[in-house]
């Protein structure tokens, strides 16, 4: 059972629709009790770092999630801002993040961009996988996903970077440490490639 964490940010229904089509059991979790019985979590996110941390805290799910993720090692997939809050901190905000993957969130450097590129990084871009097992099974280099962000996850350890994407500089577009996964793009809004990735997460 995949629990899609509904803390008031991100497109819960879009994830639910994908899993419904795939016939993969799922539910939405909007309070601590709802988390019980899940063997996968999706942490969606659209918005700003501090806002995401605040509403997650307010939902009452933060502490129980800490236990599920760190003690019971239940796989979790953070998406966009949901990925960024897996880090310790962000240049976008002042609140500490969840700190489940070692790294910090930084602003993409506009000076590294050519004059034909702009911030935010918006649109369809390719990923270059470092490894193609697990989450990226069946997805090749050049697989396109939808990105919408100005900040990126700067992993402390290179081994936590599963795929990179080029925008000015290459940044980590897929990260993983143990049972914690994060994708900077929106798989729920990336047509067939996104469906494949969400299916892979369900099969991990």
């Amino acid at each position: 059972m995949i629990a899609i964490i509904d803390y008031g940010l991100g497109n819960i229904k879009a994830f639910a629709n994908v899993y419904k089509r795939l016939n993969i059991p799922h539910k939405t979790a909007s309070c601590a009790d709802d988390l019980e019985g899940a063997d996968r979590f999706i942490l969606p996110g659209v918005g700003a770092f501090d806002q995401a941390m605040q509403v997650l805290q307010r939902s009452g799910m933060r502490e129980p999630l800490d236990e599920f993720v760190l003690q019971r090692r239940v796989p979790i997939l953070g998406v966009c801002v949901g990925m960024q809050i897996l880090a310790h901190s962000s240049e976008e905000g002042n609140l500490p993040g969840l700190g489940w993957i070692d790294g910090e969130v930084r602003r993409l450097d506009p000076s590294a961009l050519s004059h034909k590129t702009y911030l935010p990084h918006m649109g369809w871009n390719d990923i270059s996988p470092m490894r193609s097992d697990g989450l990226l099974q069946g997805l090749n280099g050049g697989s396109r996903f939808y990105f919408l962000h100005s900040y990126y996850f700067d992993c402390r350890g290179n081994e936590d970077v599963v795929a990179t994407t080029d925008y000015g500089n290459a940044f980590a577009s897929v990260v993983n440490y143990r049972n914690v996964y994060g994708v900077q793009f929106h798989p729920e809004k990336s047509h067939q490639n996104g469906i494949q990735l969400l299916k892979n997460f369900g099969n991990l």
Binding site: G47, S114, G123, N125, D126, H186, K189, Q192
Partner: protein, 260 residues
Amino acid sequence: MLYPRLIPCLLVKNKGLVKTVRFKNPKYVGDPINAVRIFNEKQVDELMVLNIEATSGNMEPDFKMIENLAAECRMPLCYGGGVKTVEQAQRIVELGVEKVAISSAALDKPELISQIAEQVGSQSVVVVLDVKKRLIGGKYQISTHNGKINTGRCPVEFARQVESLGAGELAINSIDNDGVMKGYDFCLIDKIREAVSLPMTVLGGAGTLEDIGRLIGMYGIVGAAAGSLFVFKGIYRAVLINYPNPHEKEDLIAKNRLTV
């Protein structure tokens, strides 16, 4: 590499989809959810839905409809129409919409751009400028309320302000070219592209894929939005939702792409 975006722009009035010509004579073209389903199958890059009666009719955004659209979309969605407050923008993002477009509210109260960006992140704030060229003198000016009110404001100056206030994207809509299907207003786009370095989406005038190709050729990474082109077929403007298939899109981009 980042690709240019081909974006169908759907106009909503009285819960149905319409298409206008120069912001007038809305013609009913179908049901919004049905259209989204077809665009899902066609794997469109992004979708823009604008409620064209919300601001002029002083209506709130139709949150129920927005929620249904967001749930149905398997591509990113930008919603605009009647958004006046931070709370409304936040609620729309919470319903699962990636981008919220504001227009007349941003002109009335530019600081709203920063306030919304602070709550939902800059990347989700789109400012739409409906621009009309004056018959005498040929000056470009921003209109609001579905083209009914001319603010007299210069789009280039306002675009700079929009950027400095932290918007994530600028959408430029040419009222004169809306629904005419004779091509984009490159003169207008040039002026704004030079002034700001925000991602830009252009709307108004695309009649063929070649028009979009030309836009990509000139600006590289750009949002190429169109209404009529993606909902009408043939010279009699029969309603038929269409969109280039992945190969056609690939060819169009490859053929026109700037080599940076």
